[in-house]
Symmetry: C2
Subunit: 125 residues, 2 copies
Amino acid sequence: MNGELEKRLKRLLSCRSYKEEDVGRYLRELRRFAQEVGDEESFRKMERFFKALADSTRLRIIKMLENRELCVCEVMAALDLTQTNASYHLNMLERAGIVKKTRRGKWVFYSLVKPEVTRLIDQIS
Amino acid sequence: MNGELEKRLKRLLSCRSYKEEDVGRYLRELRRFAQEVGDEESFRKMERFFKALADSTRLRIIKMLENRELCVCEVMAALDLTQTNASYHLNMLERAGIVKKTRRGKWVFYSLVKPEVTRLIDQIS
DNA sequence: CATAACAACATATTTAAATCTATAGAAACG
DNA sequence: CGTTTCTATAGATTTAAATATGTTGTTATG
């Protein structure tokens, strides 16, 4: 067990009329509490989703796609990105399940999978 | 002007019965469209907010704070973090306006500023 | 089927975030 | 007031994301 940490908790609990021998139990309680709020897998999933939104270029792409679908070269033109960089961001959004792509001849068009995502964005701003 | 890009747009538009001389106008239209969906400042703000949520440790902290406030040493204990690392993540959340801190004697307690944030998180999972 | 055009991918570089180590600041307490 | 305890910050290191360069895959077209 981590002795230093237990001492620290003991001092904290002594302000709360806890008995000294309860400290070990309190530590286990805290760790169980941390487990109970959610499993690692679902937190990882949320992390990936929020990471996809944590970039102003991608947020702007999403807001544009709210109005209409765009092909890669239109995204390049609109946001002044290199072809590779535009593809990179669109791929990030696709892997997060936010956009989907449709090939039409030589062109690949991107559109929103769930338009609800823009509601979520608008809640923030 | 970016000649390569204009040629690319021209070929795209030629599939849509656009006149050739409209390509320059279409490029400007795309760029204006990109501006209209939102100003850089507000996208940067959203980016900061989503960045704060884009980490599974911080998401777990938020979910714990939904139930009750915690001091730094409790966060350390619950999530098995170093003191510095716990402070770092709590500071990130504070600067994003998600949590606030209250000093009580030697201890600093953190709590949610807007509990709505957990609704937003639950929408994802 | 050879070539041109659009997009994706692989790899390297740059830039930013997360973590660690060491130290400083603030409150409590003898 | 000197010491201990809790938290924050500074600086260095590690790790991951964003961007750039060069190349490949895919579709259309002469």
